[in-house]
Each structure stands twice: as C-alpha cells, then as structure tokens.
Symmetry: D2
Subunit: 128 residues, 4 copies
C-alpha cells in the first residue's frame, strides 16, 4: 500500500457539505446536540446516495443503540426537523427519503431575524 493509494482513498470517499447556518444556529432553533449529530449522519448518508438510512445504519456509525436512535429520529420527525417523503422512481417503485427543507427554513428565519435586529441596533445608534 503506497502513498498514492492513500490519496485515492481520501478523494474517492467524497465530502459532505453543510451550511455554516447549521453549526451557527441549530442550538437557537432548539435542536439538541444528539439530534444534531444524527441529522449530520442523515445528511452524510444522503450525500453518499442513501437517502433513507435505517436505524441500524445509524447504530453502526454512532455509539447510540437502536432504541436511542429510534427515539431521536422520532423526535426529529415530531419537531419537523426532518420530513419523511415519498417519490416514485423511473421503474414505478415507491421509495422514501428524508427531507430537510423545514430545518433549512428555520435556520434561515433565525439568521434573518438576527440580521434585522442587528440593523435595528445600527439605526438606533445612528438616530440616538
């Protein structure tokens, strides 16, 4: 196994790209840390092509047991941070996937508010 092979392994694994909004503000929209790590795993699976990982998939990658994973997933769904959606593929087979749009919108709403209140502060200082 030579050094060139190491670079190959590194590049072939690919990357996960996540908005800084998530790290900045997940706490502010009431995502717990253990929910955050599971969300990141769901996103990572999605970017690798598995858009509906099973609890067992998540057990293999975390220190949570299956019960705990199922609990956290249920909370994520109840709070709306992930939505389970259905689509039909080219061969007419129904499949499910996790959708994060509501989460992105909550994070963006928070960032928007913060920016507006920062602008209000600037105005107050200028007017003051």
């Amino acid at each position: 196994m030579q050094k060139r092979d190491r670079l190959r392994i590194w590049t072939e694994q690919g990357n996960v790209t996540i908005s800084q909004l998530f790290f900045n503000y997940y706490k502010m929209i009431d995502v717990k840390d253990e929910e955050a790590i599971l969300l990141l795993h769901l996103i990572a699976f999605g970017e690798a092509g598995n858009h509906f990982p099973t609890p067992q998939n998540l057990v293999e990658r975390t220190h949570f047991d299956e019960n705990k994973v199922t609990n956290i997933l249920q909370r994520l769904v109840q709070k709306g941070f992930v939505q389970i959606e259905q689509q039909i593929d080219e061969e007419g087979i129904r499949y499910e996937y996790y959708n994060f749009q509501y989460l992105w919108n909550l994070l963006l709403n928070y960032a928007e508010q913060e920016e507006n209140s920062a602008e209000d502060d600037v105005l107050k200082v200028e007017e003051g």
Copy 2:
C-alpha cells in the same frame, strides 16, 4: 425582507466541507458522539476563519456548559484527535490553532485496513 435576501443570507454564510471518512469511521477509531459534534464545531469555526475558538465560543453553539466543553476538549487533545499548534503571523505575532492531521490519518488508516481486508476476502473466495 424579500426572497432574494434569503438566498443572499444562505450563500453568504458559506459551507463546511467534511470528508465522508469522518462520518463513516469516527466510531471505529474511538471518537465518542459528543467528541464528534465538538470536532465538527471546531472544523466549522476553522472554515469560517476562527482557527482557535474558545470554550465560550463552543458553549454558545452547543448545549454543553463550559466545564463540559473544557473536559471534551481535553480528551480530544489527550487522545491526539486535535493538536494545538503555534504559528507566527506576518506581523510577528504568535497565534495558536487546532490541527486535525492525526485524526485524518487515523481515519485513513482505518479505511485502508478495511479496503485491504475486503480485497483479502475477494482473494480467498477466488482461491477457495
């Protein structure tokens, strides 16, 4: 606040890019889930230009208190997952930053091993 502004906020926040190796194998090299989330925050701060976030920075973004953050950071340093390094900037001022090279190499070693043992299995089947 109009829709165009929302896209501006989204794009200006920027992204964090993390190797799939991290999500795939952090458990295998004995990174705990709470260590993983803190590592991800350190990486996110780094990509936003803050290469040596304080415990207080991390308290603001997580549900951990300062004591807990300090404990986890110490463990990360003791296990070698992060190294604190020093450099001197253009104006001659010494600054510290977190370095993750040892972590990347551990993850890569693990992936390498797994790939080799997968190849061995193939050989055994073919030879069998």
Copy 3:
C-alpha cells in the same frame, strides 16, 4: 517528504464549494466558457479569503494575459454577473469585494422556470 505530509498538504489547501446550478445552467444564462472559468477563479480566491483578487492574481492562475483578464472582468461586471461592492472593516478601512448574488439569482430563476415547465408538461400529459 513522507506520505503523511501529502495528506497534510491536501487537507490544508482547503476546498471550493460551488452549486451544481452553476455547472448546470451557466450556458443558459449566457455566461461564456471563458467567463465561467474566471468566475470560478474569483469564487476560489474568495473562499481562500481574497475577496477582491487583482487581474494580476488571475493572470498567474490562467493562460490569459492581463489585457484579456481585464476584458473578461469588464464583461462580467457589465452583464451584472459580478458586482463590485464596498464595505468598511473593523478598523474603519474601506475595502472592495466581488459579490455574486445576481448570478445566483439568475441561475435560480432559470432552474425555477425549467421546473415549472416540467410540471406543466406533466399536467398536460395527465389532462391530455
């Protein structure tokens, strides 16, 4: 120089993250290929912290001469694909940077249109 150093160089260089929208649709909004490569360089410089690279910076990284670079930059500004904006930093010093919001919005408008017309086609087939 050992293999571990190669991984360090790779990871320390960092990444450039660009929306697939750009590659999908730049042609459709009338961005030429030579404009596209220069836009990508501007974005890459920005992600590395240089938000207002000079023509000379771009000459060093491309096969264009300074005249050509200046021409393409002017076209990008005239077409609105990049805007030169000004901000004031913490020390009160005015600085300029390239902003790509109008470009992102054009790309998104195009994707939106395409998606709508795809939905219209589905409706027509269903109604037909």
Copy 4:
C-alpha cells in the same frame, strides 16, 4: 412560486466540491483553461452521479461543439489528466467512469515541490 421553493431548488441541486489545489496549480501542470473548464464539468457530473458523461452531455452545458469537446477529451486522456476505467456493478454489468487520481497527484507533487523550495529559501536566509 414562493420564496421557500427557491431555497428548496437551491439546496436540492447540491454542490460540487473541488480542492483549491486545482485552481491554484492547474496552469503549472500544463492544463489549459478550456481543459480546466471541461475537467470541472466532468467532476460536477460525477458528483451528481453521472461518472461517464458523453460528449453530448458536455455540449449541452458548454459553448463548445461536439467536435471541440471530443478533441479536448482526447487531449485530457492523452496527457493522463483523466483516465477511463472500468468496473463491474452489482448486477455484473461492466461500466466505465472517469478517474482523476493522476491529476490530483500531479497537483500535489507541484504543491509539495513549491513547499519544499519555500522551506529551502527560509533555510538559506537563516543560514545566510
């Protein structure tokens, strides 16, 4: 069409992540600008799951005609910047894909050299 839909389109399109090494050094390893833009398209297609885009795919996304695309692709293969490799999928079907390992290694070799010569300069100054 509402603002939330625009964010959905943006996030669902996904991203392309490219090492800064590419933008920094492609010129130095003799990749032409028109080869660079085509390489970026190949990488973008790959990240979207199409690892062997046809010349026609590339014609649709660039201002090059099919003849030109085929010429550039041939040059990229001849220079070794892309390799066409074969694999067999789970159903036993052979498929081809573009591999960029040689390109990544060339870029890394160049960065390595540059770093070494920068260190040599530092040593000379210190010894001088």
